[in-house]
């Protein structure tokens, strides 16, 4: 019965979301108080129905209701409870329902925290969000219904894809989606602003905390995905430039640009139309990214459903949502730009450069992702563009961008003098150059141009961010006052410095190697000794595994026992590698069990990854910076 209740609740949510969209937008257009008053209750009702639908699907999974096709295809009796819940979003249908749930949650939050905004403005925002959710629910019900039954129902399910049976992947999609969908709020604010008779200059202030919130979830979501790929796939990298990864990275880059341009628009009232365009683009790229991959237009190892009917719906939806917004922008934007002067050397200039470089980076990724498709459409052959292209292409915008970070942070609004800036930045740069050369050359024993550039810039960013963080603290007659916007900004940039340092060191000094081991063999990799003690069979809840016991020695001192596994999941028969990782703050020692080479001899992949943790740590620090910036009091007035 629960699947039917869920199905029915979703149909009700569809109807209510349509009412929410039309009543709020029509009410705002006609300035009809009654309809405007309805917008919030309608939004809450819609969210409640979506929540009921989602809860019913979760219940179907937890209660092993294999008469539901989606449950039968993605779960089984022996699956641990945590993964029964995460299996809800383990495939296309459920992840779409999760997307809908998250969009209605954002809508509810907007309803609750927008009460001090003008009614007409917030009503339009709620209306736009209502129409967006209408589109998604329609898509779910007509092309991807997770509540569909099968008869006769199987006794046991087909199990969740073993790759997804992992805590990292249980939480990665929801958090990533919270980020993607969060940009819908910035999009709705931008549409509402463009529909206004006279653009309210407070719009930038209102939309800032929402944009930062979406961005911080996207940051954590991407970092989690990267961390998962690192330890679960065992390929030894943390970023593969796969279309799905690119699809999440593009909105992140534009979202980052948006956060910076919103700062200028709020403080100085310039770049208004540009900021509107970025708000629309961030959400457009979130949509393009997720749905192009889902529709099978771009091929990826992540793509889970390819169905032309879905693809057509997606394209129509994209054209209305993105095309409509861009058309509105084209009509309205030219009235918005004010002439406000600023000096060639000023914070405005640095933030403008930041935006230009981030947009260039996004366009390069978009080109790299779409080029194979374009060439094919025009019958110019099939090509694959891989990591090497992206890695080189990214250096072009990223190196100047990273150099400008410190200058942007420490320059003044309107006009600054080069002497003043030089005075502030020379000692951090001096120290950074020294440390940036000494660490790689003497600690790791090698140097190279890119390596030295990377380590110097990252340390320069770290030092400047700390100085900037110090300046956010004011001791006002014995009372501490912290400027949370400045503190958040500094911490986010500190995170960026930590991230770049990690990337630089691990890409220069990481070691990956496959070695053949017999029992008792001892092999040295990157200064550590690995000894294979034993190989034995063990049993898990829904898999069988072979587990190796490997001692790791630093010199003659035993530092750890690593136990990598090769699992065979019983239902889907697919083998999985569970790597064992000795994680320290400054390095990872990574061991994955390969194939049997016969005669008690095994192939084992060993990796030495210095500073790899700093990559994810840097992302978390960036997100923390965003969190602190949101908590600034001025957003709650």
């Amino acid at each position: 019965m629960f699947p039917e209740i869920g199905h029915f609740a979703l149909i009700l949510a569809l109807v209510v979301s349509l009412c929410q969209g039309s009543a709020s937008l029509y009410g705002a257009a006609k300035q009809n108080k009654d309809l405007i008053t309805l917008s919030r209750p309608l939004a809450h009702t819609q969210s409640l129905f979506v929540l009921i639908a989602f809860a019913c699907l979760v219940y179907s999974f937890v209660s092993d209701d294999f008469s539901v096709l989606y449950v039968a295809s993605n779960s089984q009796l022996a699956l641990p409870l945590l993964f029964k819940v995460s299996a809800v979003w383990g495939a296309h249908e459920g992840s779409l329902l999760l997307w809908v749930l998250i969009l209605s949650t954002w809508t509810t939050l907007v309803c609750l925290f927008s009460k001090n905004l003008p009614d007409i403005f917030s009503s339009r925002v709620i209306g736009v969000l209502g129409f967006l959710n209408f589109g998604f629910i329609l898509f779910t019900l007509f092309t991807s219904n997770p509540f569909e039954r099968i008869f006769p129902s199987p006794l046991d399910g087909n199990d969740l894809n073993p790759l997804l049976q992992d805590i990292g992947l249980a939480i990665h999609p929801p958090i990533l989606y919270v980020g993607y969908v969060g940009f819908a709020v910035a999009y709705a604010f931008a549409i509402s602003a463009m529909l206004s008779e006279k653009l309210d200059k407070n719009w930038a202030k209102w939309t800032r905390p929402w944009t930062t919130a979406a961005w911080l979830f996207l940051t954590i979501g991407i970092a989690l995905g990267s961390w998962w790929a690192y330890y679960e796939l065992g390929w030894g990298g943390w970023w593969f430039w796969d279309p799905v990864e690119n699809a999440s990275f593009m909105p992140w880059l534009i979202g980052t640009a948006l956060i910076h341009s919103l700062a200028v628009t709020e403080k100085r009232g310039v770049f208004i139309s540009w900021t509107l365009l970025l708000s629309v683009s961030a959400f457009s790229l979130s949509l393009l990214g997720t749905f192009l991959v889902r529709s099978g237009i771009l091929i990826s190892v992540h793509a889970f459903a390819t169905d032309p009917e879905r693809g057509l719906f997606i394209l129509i939806f994209l054209i209305s949502v993105i095309g409509g917004a861009l058309l509105l922008y084209a009509k309205k934007a030219s009235d918005l730009d004010k002439k406000v002067g600023f000096g060639a050397l000023s914070r405005e200039t640095f933030l403008l450069l930041n935006n230009v470089l981030l947009v260039i980076a996004t366009i390069l990724i978009l080109l790299g992702t779409l080029a194979p498709l374009v060439l094919e459409v025009f019958n110019m052959g099939k090509i694959s563009i891989g990591a090497p292209w992206f890695e080189i292409a990214m250096l072009v915008p990223m190196i100047p961008l990273l150099i400008l970070v410190t200058m942007g942070m420490h320059s003044l609004w309107i006009k600054d003098s080069s002497f003043n800036l030089y005075k502030k930045l020379r000692s951090p740069l001096g120290i950074a150059t020294l440390v940036g050369i000494v660490i790689p050359t003497f600690y790791y024993g090698r140097s190279g141009l890119l390596l030295l550039i990377g380590s110097t810039i990252s340390i320069w960013i770290i030092i400047s961010s700390l100085l900037s963080l110090r300046s956010s603290w004011k001791n006002n007659q014995g009372r501490f006052h912290i400027n949370r916007s400045v503190a958040g900004m500094s911490i986010a940039h500190l995170g960026l410095g930590v991230f770049v340092f990690g990337v630089t060191i691990v890409s220069s000094f990481g070691v990956e190697t496959d070695r053949g081991f017999s029992l008792g063999d001892q092999i040295s990799v990157a200064g550590y000794e690995y000894k294979l003690n034993s190989i034995e069979s063990i049993k898990g809840p829904n898999y069988e595994a072979i587990e190796a016991d490997i001692s790791v020695f630093d010199g003659s001192e035993l530092i750890s026992h690593l136990r990598p596994q090769k699992r065979t999941y019983l239902v889907q028969k697919s083998p999985m590698t569970e790597a064992a990782i000795l994680a320290k703050w400054n390095k990872d020692l990574f061991v994955a069990l390969g194939d049997s080479l016969g005669n008690d001899s095994w192939s084992i992949r060993i990796q030495y990854k210095p500073m790899v943790r700093w990559i994810w740590l840097g992302c978390l620090i960036m997100a923390l910076g965003g969190l602190i910036a949101i908590s600034d009091k001025r957003y709650r007035r």
Partner: protein, 174 residues
């Protein structure tokens, strides 16, 4: 004034690509391996586990490298074609039994017939990763120098064979 129309023009310019992209044939995948030497491997034979099949032994002959498994529906679909191809003695077929259950695989060959000259058993799927296998069935055409000259994703049939594989063999001979 006009510059604000650029974003929508850019958007409208790329949308048709997606429309066309939706209908295209996704079975012919670009593979970085085309034109490259085959990835080396050494795997036990499915039929006789004592025997090791080494990729170097496969050279000196044009052959079809076919990735299959009993859990794969598309493999059953192309099986009749493979049987016909093997009876015609046109080309030796090397099988890679991918992530499969040993006994299921033997039972399948007993029930449906064995079109393969030899079959390597890749239980862990590691060799398939080296070959860049996306899913089964997948077929690679390898020339006598051990160079991959064509790759096909999905079940094979007469049309695909004539259109893509026969032509690739002729082109390669020239």
């Amino acid at each position: 004034m006009k510059k604000h129309y650029l974003p929508i023009l850019f958007f409208l310019a790329i949308m048709p690509i997606f429309f066309i992209g939706m209908d295209r044939d996704k079975s012919v995948l670009p593979s970085p391996l085309i034109g490259e030497k085959i990835p080396q491997f050494s795997l036990p034979s499915l039929i006789n586990s004592e025997l090791q099949i080494d990729s170097s032994e496969l050279l000196n002959n044009t052959f079809l490298f076919n990735v299959w498994a009993t859990w794969c529906v598309g493999c059953l679909e192309e099986h009749d074609f493979l049987m016909k191809l093997s009876e015609s003695n046109e080309i030796p077929i090397v099988g890679l039994n991918w992530r499969d259950n040993h006994n299921d695989a033997l039972a399948w060959l007993r029930d449906y017939g064995n079109p393969y000259t030899i079959i390597a058993e890749d239980v862990s799927g590691r060799v398939a990763i080296d070959w860049g296998v996306y899913g089964a069935p997948e077929s690679f055409l390898v020339n006598s120098n051990g160079i991959i000259i064509h790759k096909h994703l999905g079940p094979l049939d007469d049309d695909i064979w004539e259109r893509d594989f026969s032509r690739a063999i002729i082109n390669d001979a020239n």
